[in-house]
């Protein structure tokens, strides 16, 4: 009995530092965010309860609507392309290049992952620039007219998507590659004995066996994409007009440019609901237990 109590005390002592941090900087703030979202609050004066007003305003706000639509477009463009590319590359490298050169290619493709979004955005902003930007020079060789990538509201969001895909493929490639390596070799041997070619092996064995990994890659991709901020802040600042504003940028502007904390919290709660829905859908569709 005494032994048990001692062990419990020790347990609490070990988890205490992290518990304090998680409580004060994660759990309590979630509830505070919820409470603030029903108030008008500019940090200087005390919060004033306004009921559902913030939520009504959020839904009517054109800026927020643009941010929602842009973020949705961003998700719909980046996630399928980055998933398909990283899966294709991983499968190709696993089938054809399980050697030093394949390893080298994988480590090269991982380099954009370790660079910060701000660094990547800075470099790409220069590459995509008008007046002699290197990308326009390259497409000029092939006879295309220069494009004002970041300065035209038709192409600004797409340009950010392309950079995001460029940055993420290496990451998901590593995850897919590890997943493919975990598939038992005997499955492929049996398939080959039965005369299945590479494509049949890919669609009948690799793809079905990778289902949990794919679900992870897609869900992570969607959740991260909903939180995009750094890239568009650095590359376009949300412009021109509202053409590349994202949800998080709208939250940032409301909270830290206009000091409308309550309003920003209402948007943040909206983001939270979106992320929770994605997680719930993932669990429904892929029917897996919480780890």
């Amino acid at each position: 009995m005494k032994q048990k109590r001692l062990e419990a005390t020790q347990g609490y002592i070990y988890i205490l530092p992290s518990l304090i941090l998680i409580l004060s900087f994660s759990i309590i703030p979630i509830f505070m965010s919820g409470v603030f979202s029903f108030t008008e609050y500019n940090v200087m004066n005390s919060p004033k309860f306004v009921g559902l007003e913030n939520y009504e305003k959020v839904l009517r706000d054109e800026y927020v609507r643009a941010a929602l639509v842009n973020t949705l477009k961003y998700v719909l463009i980046t996630v399928p392309i980055q998933t398909a590319l990283s899966l294709t590359f991983a499968a190709f490298l696993a089938v054809k290049m399980q050697n030093k050169s394949g390893e080298f290619l994988r480590s090269v493709m991982f380099i954009p992952v370790i660079a910060s979004a701000v660094t990547s955005g800075t470099i790409w902003r220069t590459i995509l620039g008008t007046d002699g930007g290197i990308l326009n020079s390259i497409i000029g060789i092939f006879g295309f007219d220069p494009v004002n990538w970041l300065g035209d509201s038709k192409t600004s969001l797409i340009s950010i998507c392309i950079v995001a895909i460029w940055k993420n493929v290496g990451y998901f490639l590593v995850i897919f590659y590890a997943g493919i390596m975990d598939i038992p070799k005997s499955l492929y041997e049996a398939a080959r004995v039965d005369g299945a070619n590479t494509y049949q092996q890919f669609f009948r064995i690799t793809l079905p066996m990778l289902k949990p990994i794919t679900s992870l890659v897609v869900t992570l991709g969607i959740i991260w994409s909903f939180q995009v901020f750094d890239l568009s802040y650095q590359m376009t600042g949300g412009g021109p007009g509202y053409s590349s504003v994202t949800i998080v940028m709208a939250i940032y502007n409301a909270a830290f440019k206009q000091y409308k904390m309550g309003y920003a919290c209402a948007m943040a709660m909206l983001l939270l609901v979106i992320v929770l829905i994605i997680n719930a859908v993932k669990q429904r569709v892929f029917g897996e237990k919480e780890d």
């Binding site: 070990y14 941090l21 490298l93 089938v95 800075t122 290197i134 460029w166 492929y188 997680n279």
Partner: protein, 273 residues
Amino acid sequence: MENKKWTVSSVLGLLLVIVFAITCIAPFIYMILMSFTKSTTLTLRMQDINFSDFSNFSHVFNKSGFFGALKNSIIVVCCSCFFNCVVASMAAYGFEKKRFPGREKIYNMYVATMMVPGQVTMIPVFIIMKKLGLLNTYFSLIVLIINAFGVLLIRSFMAGVPDELLEAAKVDGCPEHKIFINIVLPLIKPVLISLIVFTFVTSWNDFLWPLVSTTDSDMYTLTVALSLLKTQYGTNYGLIMAGAAVSFIFPFILYVFLQKQFVEGIALSGVKG
């Protein structure tokens, strides 16, 4: 699954992979070349490149606050890595090896916090820090890096530490804190290295929180200082690229030396988080 036959389509595949790999590295080469030019136009002319001219670098260090920003980033990153490892391994040990009432309930709460985007908690945390006068401190930059992820990561590894070993040490009269420091910590070293690498990259590349929580330019981290260069020096591309190169080179050097741990540490973050 390996198939060494090279058909037309597999050659095309190889080409695609190589082209993509080149696009992955080319922007960084471009960045390095540009950082050695005095270019105020975007056109990169080979004759403008002068590798013995470090004036862009000395300019960002001395005039754009990169010296202070680099110092801040290094302090924040080192402290984040250290405290994250200490706090997370203690908690993981407590959760995995000690029985106490409410253990799994508290743990599930940790898991649940992983689903909440940082931007949701950021505003209340900003308000708390402001009220406590903690904005513009290393504390506020470091403390937010520590989250439940490290605990989750280490706990799954901690399960592999045999209970018998800990029991035997206890029977031998080894005091509790020594069991943790001298037996458990050495055994979980591989996962600690993964966590360090992961924490290093997240905290080095962290942007939104430093952007909102530092208003004093002496407290800017590298990412914030870099993002300000474009407003300071609109078209002085050589200078801006020098700034980008400074912020890139540290994680890159670490990546070159610790490649395996890097890929593992970062890939794990997805699999577990």
